[in-house]
Each structure stands twice: as C-alpha cells, then as structure tokens.
C-alpha cells in the first residue's frame, strides 16, 4: 500500500493518511481481539484494540535484557532511526543506540505507541469496528494506567515476563512510575526522567489551554474532522506553541533568541512574526500538525491530567511503593518548571518512606523540561551508571546479548 504524501495532497487525502497510519501502521502491531478486551479505568472495555511498537537490539536467551521506553506526549514509537512519516531522526537519538547509554548492543529496547496515540495504537483516529468510522470523541477517555495495562498485554504477547528497566521522560516517566506500581514484580529497574507522581494544577491548566485552542478551531467539527474532510491545524498548532514554551526555560529562550528579529532590520508595526522566537514557535506548531492528530492530543493530555499515583492509596504516595523491590533512579533538571525538582523529590521521599532502593540526581541546565531529550553529558553518565549497576545486579553480561 503506497503512502499518501501529506504535503502534496489535499486535506481529504491527509485524512486518509492519518486513518491509514492509525489502522495499518508501518510499525509492527499486535492486535487484541474480542477475547482479550482492555479494561479501562473509565469502567468500559475497549475491544478490539491494537498496540503498535518498535524494537531495537536483540532479546537475549533468558529474556532478561528488555528495556521498555515510554514516549512523551508528542513522541511516538520511533525512538531512533528515520521517522517514516517525517523523515527526521528519532526523538531519543542522544540516549539510545549502539554504544549509547541505553545501549542497543546490550539491551533489547521496546517502545510502544501510547493508547490514544495516532501512530498505530488504538486512538481516536482508529476505525471503530462498530461504525466503520474513526472513533473521534466516541473513544472512551483513557488513562496512563490504561496505557500501561495495554503495554503489559503487549509484553505478554511478546513473551517478556520481566523488564530489566522501564524508562521515559515526562509522560514517559509517568508510565514508568505506573509500571513500577501496577506491576512491581515485572520491573527490575525504573528510570523516570523529568516526571511527577501527579499532574499539577499548573500543568492541567496549560493542557486545558491547548485543548480549548483545538476545540475552538472551526475545522475541529466537534471532533469529526476526519469524516468531514477538515483539519483543525490552527488549533493544534496553537496548542503545540503554548505547550512548547513550557518545555523550555526563560534562560534557554533568551540564550537562543533574545529579542532578535526574524530576517528584518526593524519592527514592521504589524502582527507578522517580527521576532525570531515567534517564527520559531510558528515553525514548531506547523511541523507538529503534519504528524499529529488533534483528537489524539485531547486524549493524551487528558490521560496526563488524570494521572495521580497516590489517588488509589488514600493520597499517600509511599503506600503506592510499599514493599517495592524495583531499583529506582530519578532525574530532574534545575530549569524544568513543568516537572520541577520538587516533584521528583516528592517521589524520592515516598520511596524512602517505603525503604525502596532509590537514586536521585538533579542536573544543572538551562534547557528546561526538554533537557531529557537533549545533549546532557551528565545525564548520559547517570543513565549509563545506573543501568550498568542494575545490569550487574541482574547478572547481565557486559558484552552483547
């Protein structure tokens, strides 16, 4: 089946491409039939459903070297290598690959697309078998725990009982933490980066701005845009622009752009992108809409908002980790104001109260929340050291496989 070139065709064929990627992704995919429904937190069952994923490296003979990488809000399963839709490198090239801290010569890496996503795991762009049309807003609202439950079913299908490590940044960190709480016996080590045990009021507020921007776009059509041949580009772009600011820091924006003007000597006294920072944000927004589904953005941000690990434990986070044997390593970044160090420290305190083995490092950087994706030698040394120590404890050989 040939791929529709999004940039050359009209919105109608774009809708086709989105639906195709959602239903018949270019990734490997595991389909769960009516015999294996996914029990959602929303107290309904999702069935059938599917999980698309990528793997890197080789699973060793006793299946003890698997690392689950959980992607963030705007990420997907294409951790490294050329992205099939955008042609760009994967989102974690800095961290993952042969000889990298998450060494694919040594570990078997699995990265599934999250539930509600638009790259092949069941989401709002997927075909609802009951109607033959995309789910749109008729897809039940999903949670981080639902996603983790689906991932556990994927691992069952792949024959992987225990994970050597589960890791991810931001929303990926939420999934990693949820894994350690939901399936403690299946997680040897957990490495949540720039994460939190619950989404803060400020974070929910930012997400609400993004969702309102999407829903205010007339092309959104109450979520039926794939059927009506429109695309809420402007709404999604604004959502992305607002969110992108929260991933950076004042210092990083100042360092990169300052008040510099974009290809001009002076102000235009208009509302064109006079400043470089405006031009940059517009670019970020327009790139994002080419690869992301607006309804997926609604569902995934909602899942993050609902995330609160302590909620099921009378609000006491330490109880969530009671008896934890998993080795934890948490990392935060000094300039991250979206998931600040205090969020990581709250988790560390809870783990201490549960007497769980935990490492915690705060890295000094001005790169903000996105630092976990960027060139941060100190982060690489920490991830490398933590995984190496865990591998020794797990009895994994230093050599390949």
């Amino acid at each position: 089946m040939s791929v529709v070139r999004v940039d050359l065709e009209g919105v109608a064929s774009r809708a086709l491409a989105v639906r195709r990627e959602a239903d018949e992704p270019r990734s490997p995919v595991v389909r769960f039939g009516p015999d294996k429904p996914l029990k959602l937190d929303a107290r309904v069952e999702l069935s059938p459903f599917q999980v698309a994923y990528q793997t890197y490296g080789t699973l060793n003979a006793d299946k003890s070297n698997a690392i689950l990488i959980c992607h963030a809000l705007s990420g997907d399963q294409y951790v490294i290598g050329e992205h099939p839709a955008t042609g760009k490198p994967g989102w974690w090239e800095t961290m993952v690959g042969p000889g990298k801290p998450i060494d694919t010569d040594r570990y078997f890496v699995i990265c599934p697309n999250v539930l509600g996503g638009c790259m092949g795991t069941t989401g709002p762009a997927s075909r609802n078998p009951a109607t033959g049309e995309p789910y749109g807003l008729s897809l039940p609202v999903i949670t981080i725990r639902d996603t983790v439950r689906a991932q556990a079913m994927l691992l069952d299908q792949l024959g992987i009982e225990t994970l050597f490590c589960v890791t991810g940044g931001s929303m990926g960190a939420m999934q990693a933490l949820q894994w350690a709480v939901s399936y403690p016996e299946r997680v040897f080590a957990a490495l949540p980066l720039a994460g939190a045990a619950r989404h803060s009021a400020q974070n929910i507020a930012f997400h609400e701005v993004g969702r309102q921007a999407i829903m205010a776009d007339p092309d959104w059509r109450d979520g039926r845009y794939l059927l009506e041949g429109t695309n809420p580009r402007r709404g999604l772009a604004v959502a992305r622009m607002a969110a992108h600011i929260t991933y950076l820091s004042d210092a990083a924006l100042h360092r990169k752009f300052g008040r510099k003007l974009q290809d001009r000597e002076t102000w235009t006294f208009g509302f064109d992108a006079d400043f470089q920072v405006e031009s940059y944000l517009r670019h970020q927004g327009s790139m994002f809409v080419e690869r992301f589904d607006a309804n997926s953005y609604l569902y995934i941000t909602r899942a993050m908002d609902y995330f609160d690990l302590a909620a099921d434990y009378d609000g006491v986070l330490a109880h969530a980790f009671k008896g934890a044997k998993t080795r934890f390593c948490l990392v935060s970044f000094t300039s991250d104001w979206l998931f600040p160090t205090s969020d990581a420290r709250a988790i560390v305190h809870a783990l201490n109260a549960a007497a769980a083995p935990v490492s915690f490092a705060e890295i000094e950087t001005d790169k903000g929340h996105d630092a976990f994706l960027l060139e941060e030698p100190e982060l690489f040394a920490i991830v490398n050291g933590f995984l190496d120590g865990a591998a020794r404890a797990r009895g994994l050989s230093a050599a390949k496989g």
């Binding site: 560390v348 935990v358 490492s359 490092a361 100190e378 040394a381 920490i382 120590g389």
Partner: protein, 215 residues
C-alpha cells in the same frame, strides 16, 4: 554531605582511607546500610564491594550525587538535617555518618533520627579535644587550623565541633548504648586500645563510635 576533611586525591585514588576501613569494619556483611553524607561514594563502594552490603547514600552536593549515581550507587540528593525524617523506623541495620556530624545544623536531631531509622549508628568525627587543637587555641588564641581541619573558621563547613568527651555526653543524652569506639591519630592509626577516655580525648584526632538503641 560535605567534602570530607582530609580528603586528598592520593587518599581517594585506590587505597581506602583508614577511617573508612574502621567504619566498614563495624558493619556486619550483608546488612542494609544508609551512609548519610556519602560524598563521592567511596565508603558505599567499599561496603557494597567488599562486604556485600545493600548500601544507600544521601549526599547534599549535586556533584557528589551525580558522581555516585554514575558509578551505579544508590544515592539521592538530600539534606541530612531535613530528609532523615522521611525514612521509616528500622529501615536499615546501620546508619553511618562519616565525618559529617560536625557539619550538621542539628547534630542531636540527626543522631536521634539515625538511631530511629537504623538499629545501629556508626559515627566518625574529628575530635576537637586533641592536644594540638587545645595547644593552638591556648598559645595563639585563634581557632585552630590543622592538617585534618584545614579551613579557617569563616569558611569551614564545620559548624558544630565537639570533643570526644562532648560526644560521649550526647550519646548519654539521647540514651543510646555505646557498643564500640575507636580513636585514630593523625595518620589514621589506632590510638592505644585500652585507655581512659581522657587519654583518647587528648591523643585521638578522630573518633569512630558504634552505637545502638537501648530499647
């Protein structure tokens, strides 16, 4: 928690410092240990590699923590004066405070927390009652600066110096049992094994105590 007094590149290279060996010697192999103020993790490494201990650490400096974690040690960034409160009772067999007591804001509280969190507490500290220090104070009338305590009073991290005798008083005050004590001279050699406290207080530059809860 702070750079340890007497740390030198030569000392940290490969041969463990004598005071660390003395501390490690007080820990039962295979036990659970928390090292409060673990610095660059030298003691943690010694404990986990040589004594098969489940060793964790708290360290206040970011560089120290990141260094430790990169070595695969279970260390968190934290402040002994605050963060010990988070740990449950009896979480560890031993809680170690090596060359850090004098740098805490609340030494008594820290010691009480250690004895709550762990069944045993191991504390090593520089003895301010050593004759050299007494002599400097007496003859020069100024705060002593020695090889093991090289900082001037205005920039030393050590804000709560005590003598060996003072410490023994604190142990009584918190109602702990003294199981073992060792005194070391400036070269890290043990000061005569059987001697009255006054002798140690005069000739020991460092002291290492193994304490336990009475109840």
């Amino acid at each position: 928690m702070l750079a340890r007094e007497g740390d030198s590149p030569a000392a940290t290279a490969s041969v463990p410092r004598v005071d660390l060996l003395v501390v490690a010697d007080m820990v039962t192999p295979g036990s659970r240990v928390l090292d409060v103020g673990c610095g660059d993790g030298e003691l943690l490494r010694l404990l986990s590699e040589k004594r098969g201990v489940d060793a964790r650490g708290i360290e206040i400096s970011r560089e120290g923590v990141n260094h430790c974690v990169a070595k695969g040690l279970a260390v968190i960034q934290g402040d002994a004066d605050v963060d010990l409160a988070d740990y449950p009772n009896d979480a560890f067999d031993y809680v170690i405070l090596s060359q850090t007591l004098q740098a805490t804001r609340r030494p008594r509280w820290v010691l009480e927390q250690m004895l709550r969190i762990g069944r045993h507490a191991v504390i090593s500290f520089p003895n301010f009652g050593h004759w050299r220090i007494r002599l400097q104070l007496l003859t020069r009338g100024r705060m002593p600066v020695t090889q093991n305590l090289p900082d001037s009073w205005y920039d030393t991290p050590n804000i709560h110096f005590c003598t060996l005798r003072d410490f023994v008083e604190l142990v009584r005050a918190v109602d702990a049992r003294m199981e073992r004590s060792v005194s070391l001279d400036r070269h890290g050699r043990r000061v005569r094994l059987y001697a009255p406290l006054g002798f140690w207080n005069l000739f020991g530059e460092q002291a290492v105590f193994l304490l336990s809860r009475k109840s």
